[in-house]
């Protein structure tokens, strides 16, 4: 029996050395995985031939430039307080960021949950509070719960700028990318807590790709990668969970019901990947009164991404952070050019902070 996480990591590294006999390229889809992998230096333990590339798993990073700009335009209005998770604060829009807008007088508050944003609306009845609803399936149910509460309690000065995106459809786009030529996906742990395993079915069924949900500790990630390699070795592909304590096969039904009550599937624009059908959420008509785009009459306008920034290519797995000419050069966590260097879960930020000996 192996008990210590460190022993488990080393045992898995040793098992991988015996299992990997040809080039294998997997993608980790979750930003929290990306950070954990860089921070723990797992790549240094991989045998030759095994590579793990980061995907579009940082919600702030995949938020399209035009969506960031919409948020910034709302922040210019004196009657609006923007309530946002802290990660959005320094993301550069076409001309400024929320942090800069705040320095110039905009009302921007960092909240730790959607519930705090609603509380802020109750405490400031003379202002409109717009919550920047960013995040994947892990986060969107909280937005849904709070929106239902606002509706129930008739809080009229609360609205959501809906930036939520959903994961399975974008994985199909990446699975079909012949240049990327992936061998499988390390699936996100907590998105899968909500979704369960079934929504990933097309990845093995249509594209023959092994998929494994993993937890976030280094040993849990190594277990997930080992399962991916075992599927390849055995010539099978399916969706497996190496994180059963947090992921039921059917997901979190209550959270999914909340999502279905408030949202419906919609197309969404992803930085680096463009418009992807069924990869976003929009409010059902009954909740449009809480839709900030409707209430304040704005729509996302075409926007320019920062010159030279290759976040889009990083998010799509086309290059690794070190492949961007701006990386650690003009673009650092102190002077970020693109969102992947801003967000604590961005691949570039993780590579900068932890991965200097880890060039790919």
């Amino acid at each position: 029996m192996i008990d210590l996480p460190r022993e488990r990591v080393l045992a898995a590294a040793s098992a991988l050395r015996s299992l990997v006999d040809r080039p294998l390229k997997f993608m980790e889809v979750c930003g929290t995985h990306t950070v954990s992998i860089y921070r723990s230096g797992l790549r240094a333990l991989f045998p030759e031939g095994l590579s793990l590339i980061s995907g579009p798993g940082c919600p702030v990073c995949v938020t399209a430039q035009e969506e960031i700009d919409s948020l910034l335009r709302l922040s210019e209005r004196k009657d609006i307080i923007i309530a946002t998770y802290g990660d959005m604060l320094r993301v550069p829009g076409s001309s400024t960021s929320l942090a800069e807008a705040r320095a110039h007088g905009a009302s921007v508050r960092v909240v730790l949950s959607a519930a705090e944003a609603l509380q802020l609306a109750r405490e400031t009845p003379d202002r409109e509070v717009v919550f920047a609803g960013v995040g994947f399936e892990t986060t969107a149910p909280a937005t849904a719960a709070v929106l239902l509460q606002a509706s129930r309690e008739k809080v009229r000065n609360f609205a959501v700028l809906n930036l939520h995106k959903t994961v399975p459809a974008v994985l199909e786009v990446l699975a079909a990318d012949s240049e990327l030529s992936l061998d499988g996906f390390l699936l996100p742990g907590h998105v899968s807590t909500i979704l369960g395993l079934r929504p990933y079915g097309p990845l093995p069924e249509k594209y023959g790709l092994p998929c494994v949900v993993a937890g976030f500790e280094p040993d849990q990630i190594m277990a997930g990668i080992t399962l991916l390699v075992l599927q390849k070795r055995r010539g099978i592909s399916g969706v497996q969970s190496a994180y059963p304590e947090a992921v039921r096969p059917t997901g979190n039904r209550k959270a999914k019901r909340l999502l279905e009550t408030v949202f419906e599937e919609a197309d969404s624009i992803w930085r680096g990947l463009g418009q992807i059908p069924r990869s976003g959420l929009k409010f059902k008509a009954a909740f449009s009164a809480y839709d900030a785009r409707v209430r304040f009459g704005i729509s996302d306008l075409p926007a320019r991404e920062p010159a030279g920034c290759r976040c889009g290519d990083v998010l799509a797995g086309r290059i690794q952070p070190f492949g961007c000419p701006l990386f650690a050069n003009r673009c650092t966590p102190e002077t970020p050019v693109g969102p992947c260097m801003v967000s604590s879960e961005g691949s570039c930020s993780a590579a900068y902070r932890y991965g200097r000996g880890d060039r790919l």
Binding site: I2, S14, C30, A114, A145, G189, A223, P244, E245, K254
Partner: protein
Amino acid sequence: MCLAVPHTLVEITGPNTAIGRAGTIEVEIRTDLIENASLGDRVLVHAGFAIERLQPEEASEIDALWEEIRALSGTVQHD
């Protein structure tokens, strides 16, 4: 962003609220997303909301995987 931290529910404060403890820290969390939140539940908390009740009994599946990994690791010749 999809970071979630295990908490133990130490007080149920309302139909959709509870106090969760992680280490020595106690925070108010929302329980809208889980069924029948109860005292003593171990839950994963993300952005202020409990997103799932942790299921320790399921860990045995993973123990079997680690046994397999250990067996495989023994097949490698080390320098």
